[in-house]
């Protein structure tokens, strides 16, 4: 596949690993980099990247898995909506099996609720178009990558007069969450592998405070092995020279100003709102809600001030902050597996727990 295979070339991978090892020998301590994005966590596991790194470089997974940070209150509200038989729920597959406090959307479906998995908000709009007598609610979760696609769909619903289409926004935005994360006590990080496709939309600039105010090394990364290794090398160089900046090593997809067209669509439909994050709690202006102007397409999301209800032993909130590895959780691989997940980090295919379960902790811990 073009623009994929080239970035997996074994000779380039070997060169990068050698270079990282050479530079890491100049470290006088262990450095810790967080890969924020769940897609990066998956790629790191799949390609065994952590096992290629010298011991002095540690990778930690962060809060960049939208399903993992969606609070139970959101799932509960979604299931509640189906008590009205005219409601037809549409959702990305990732959210379908996430447990709220009273089961998953999948279980609600088994009990008779009409819940349909879609690949795109476009598909949800198509269902609304052909079921005009039903109220078709799309469970809109995701970061800045996804929010513009939902915004474009709302605008299309308006244009085509599909008045039975609704979205319940659980959208979240990354920079505010990263600020909350670096400000939280007990988190010692040296840098961030920043999300690739969130950055495609927002560009590098919104992260600049991480380098400026918090001294974090930062690099925007693509998802192939050479992309990730190149970013780790960049973080290492920044750490060694003591000159943190926001570097962009995914220039084929991330322009200096991001994607202004996508941002414009997004901000036409949505406005900043407070959001509740699993693991991070309530963060002001870290979410997006539908503007009053498009209120006809809005379902009120749950109160962001209400915290997520976690299983007493579930460590997801620690895992999402990089404070515990999945294997430190007493439920991991026992009560909690991808087939029967307790916490969201195991449900989502890109959650840190699911990645550890699938690829084995050795691929992450080296």
């Amino acid at each position: 596949m073009k623009y994929v295979d080239e970035y997996r070339r074994p000779d380039l991978v070997e060169d990068l690993v050698r270079q990282i090892r050479r530079r890491a020998s100049g470290l006088d301590r262990k450095v810790r980099f967080m890969e924020v994005c769940g897609g990066h966590t998956m790629a790191i596991g799949r390609f065994g990247i952590a096992s290629l790194l010298p011991e002095r470089i540690e990778l930690l997974s962060g809060p960049g898995c939208p399903v993992c940070v969606t609070p139970t209150t959101y799932v509960d509200k979604a299931i509640e909506l189906t008590s009205d038989p005219s409601v037809l729920l549409t959702t990305f597959g990732d959210l379908y099996r996430v447990p709220g406090s009273a089961g998953t959307p999948e279980e609600a479906c088994e009990r008779g609720a009409d819940v349909r998995v879609v690949y795109s908000p476009r598909d949800a709009l198509g269902i609304a178009d052909s079921n005009r007598q039903r109220l078709v609610v799309f469970l809109a979760i995701g970061f800045e990558t996804t929010a513009p696609t939902v915004a474009a769909t709302v605008l299309e619903a308006s244009r085509r007069g599909i008045a039975n289409f609704r979205v319940m926004s659980g959208h979240k935005t990354m920079p505010e969450a990263l600020r909350a994360l670096v400000q939280a006590p007990g988190i010692a990080l040296d840098g961030f592998i920043l999300p690739g496709h969130v950055s495609t939309v927002i560009g590098p600039e919104p992260y600049s405070f991480l380098a400026r105010e918090f001294g974090m090394a930062c690099c925007i990364s693509g998802f192939e092995p050479t992309d990730i290794l190149q970013s780790i090398l960049a973080l290492l160089e920044q750490t060694l020279t003591g000159e943190p900046i926001v570097q962009n090593e995914y220039r084929r997809a991330v322009r200096p100003g991001g994607n202004a067209v996508a941002r414009e669509e997004m901000m036409k439909v949505f406005e900043p709102a407070a959001a509740q994050w699993r693991g991070l709690g309530l963060i002001p202006r870290s979410g997006l809600d539908v503007r009053a102007e498009w209120g006809g397409f809005r379902v009120e999301p749950p109160d962001p001030a209400v915290p997520s209800q976690e299983h007493a032993s579930c460590q997801c909130s620690e895992v999402l902050r990089g404070r515990a590895r999945p294997t430190a959780c007493p439920l991991f691989g026992k009560r909690c597996t991808p087939q029967s997940a307790v916490g969201p980090c195991m449900v989502s295919s890109e959650g840190a727990c699911a990645a550890y379960y699938r690829y084995g902790s050795v691929r992450f811990e080296g």
């Binding site: 939309v201 067209v261 996508a262 669509e265």
Partner: protein
Amino acid sequence: MCWAVPLRLVEVSGQAGKVELAGTLREVGLQLISEPQVGDYVLVHAGFAIQKVDQQEAEETLRFLAEVFAGREEA
């Protein structure tokens, strides 16, 4: 979930287009990018093109890796 795949745009008609994926055609929304052209590689996420792949930057990165590291081998 922020997964996006680089696919070639083979048809453009108004706000929608078609991309080729493993020999099949899929419809994608084109509202989020400016001036889509047939032949562009676009990053597809959740049924929408969210950016054009910058072909020059894509090649530049590879050239950089190949040249710089080949040069360092002897160092």
